[in-house]
Every structure is written in C-alpha cells, then in structure tokens.
Amino acid sequence: MLKIICYHIRHVGKEEGINTGDSLSIPKLFQWLMAGGAFLALWISLLLGYIDSDINDSTKDVILFLYSVAVIGYRVATFNDCVQSAEELQNDITEAKKDLMAKGFNFD
C-alpha cells in the first residue's frame, strides 16, 4: 500500500511539476497523512483482529505499561508548581487580617 502511495506521489508530482527528485521530497501534509493513515490502518486491523500479529499478549502488556509510564511521567514532570499563587496567598492573608482587625474583628 505504501508503495502505491509513493508511486502515485512520484508520478503525480512529476505531472504537476513538483520537484520530487531522487530523495522523493514529499509534502509535509502527505507525510502526516501517510504516517497517520498507516498507523490507523494497523491499529484498527489489530484491534478488530483482521491481521494476526505475532506480538503476544505479554508484549502488548509491556507496550501498554511503557505507554502508561511515559504518559504519567510526562504529566508528573509538567505538573505546575504554583509558587506565585502561594506567595500571593500569604500576602492576601496578611492584608485580610489587617483589614478585618480594622473592621473590629477579634482574632483569638
């Protein structure tokens, strides 16, 4: 299938005067469409059992595990530390106490 797409791009590209050259310069859009399409096709066929994969279940577990670790790791690393909010709150508390006392509030 990939061959067909490449062939198509090469020839259509020539017809439309796009320089495909020897290194086959595929537009970014097509690169994404190809990679995305290939991934989806593989994914769906695996999911629905159209193709027999020689990936056994324990390998799938490892893949799922690695995926989870990657996602959770990334999210922990990018979890915002709201230092500014904490400082702001400290200032708010001081200001609130001052103002409340001026209004006659009795802190005990």
Binding site: V71, V76, F79, N80, D81, S85, G104
Partner: protein, 235 residues
Amino acid sequence: MSGDKYSILLPTYNERENLPIITWLLVKHLDAADIDFEIIVIDDGSPDVAKQLQKIYGEKRIVLRPREKKLGLGTAYIHGIKHATGNHVIIMDADLSHHPKFIPEFIKKQQESDLDIVTGTRYVGTGGVYGWDFRRKLVSRGANFLTQILLRPGCSDLTGSFRLYKKPVLEKLVKSCVSKGYVFQMEMIVRARQFGYSLGEVPISFVDRVYGESKLGGSEIVQFAKGLLYLFATT
C-alpha cells in the same frame, strides 16, 4: 448584573483561622466583579468566629447554618442547599487551598454556554498545585490516568472540590450519589455525565498549606481504588 445569585457553601471543620480570611477574600473578589452572592457557613466548630463575620458583613451575606452533628460531605451539601437562595451554588474548601479569585472565571465560563456544571481543574493549562512533593504528584497523576482510562468522564479533575453547579443540578446529583470523601466528588461528575449534564473546566491553582496533616496515605488509596471500581462497575 444578570439577575443570577450565587450561594457559596462552606462546609468547615475547625477552620477558625481560615474562615475569616476566606470570607474576606470572597467579599473582595466577588464585589469587585459585581456578583450577587451569599456565603452559607455550615459549621459547628466555631460559631463565635462566624457570628463576628456576620456582624461585619451582614446577615444577608453571611448565613449561618450549623448542623446538629458532624455528618458526611453529601449531607452537608443537602443541608446547605436547603437554605440557599441563589440559583447557582458554588462549593469550595474553606482551608484556603481554593482561592476565591477564580470564581468570576467560573461564572464567566458558565454563562458563555449556559453550562450545568463548571469545575476547577489542577491538571490542565495554567492549573497546578503548590506544596506537593514528587510522591504526591505521582500518586495524583497515576490515579487520574487510571480514572481517565476506566471511566472516560470527559473531565480532567474528578477529585477536585471547587465547583459551580446550577442549583437544581446539584440537588439532583447529591441525592443520587452515595460515595464518601474523594470518591463523592468523582461520583458527582460521573453521574452528571450519565444524566447528560453539560460541563466546563477552569484551570485553578491548588495551594496545599496543610500538607503533612492531609497526607495521602495507604487507606486513602485503598478507598480511592474501591470507589473507582464501584463507579467502573455501575456507570
């Protein structure tokens, strides 16, 4: 002003020190945004503090509704809703981990598309936490990841408790939720999805000042796991 009124429920347990501060901050930020509101204090621990505040801000703004005995969060909400005169209800923690400055954003978000629920989220955009170490962040993110996969709730922060509800929506949800603690907040959102309520999110910063006291221990994790399984099996 739009004619909307917001009832803020503060179920407090021994928040003698924080209650005056949170009240002051609420008045400051909501007045600045020209929002009509009342604060309903459901407290049994510090009636003297609440009475002083009432004297300063008036009985219309500070409503005292102590309960006879300490009950769960769900019953605190039911108790508070009964006395709420607003058409929207905001629930938040009174320990200053939720800052009132976000409420005008909640309200704006709600009004944009007439949402049933707006919830604060620590996990998206500018949202975040303060005072959490690596372990706490890991547990939180891990639990959240698992929840997202199992329940697909369409909400990034299920265990948060800084939310705005339309009053009838909250009434219905509280009545149909049976869980306690963290899981109660989760169940509220999952059931809301079941009933087809619309939901929006606002990034919030969660400043944990009492870390150490409210450590996430083993029993909390077990309780969370049980709750997750319960919701996974029943919704």
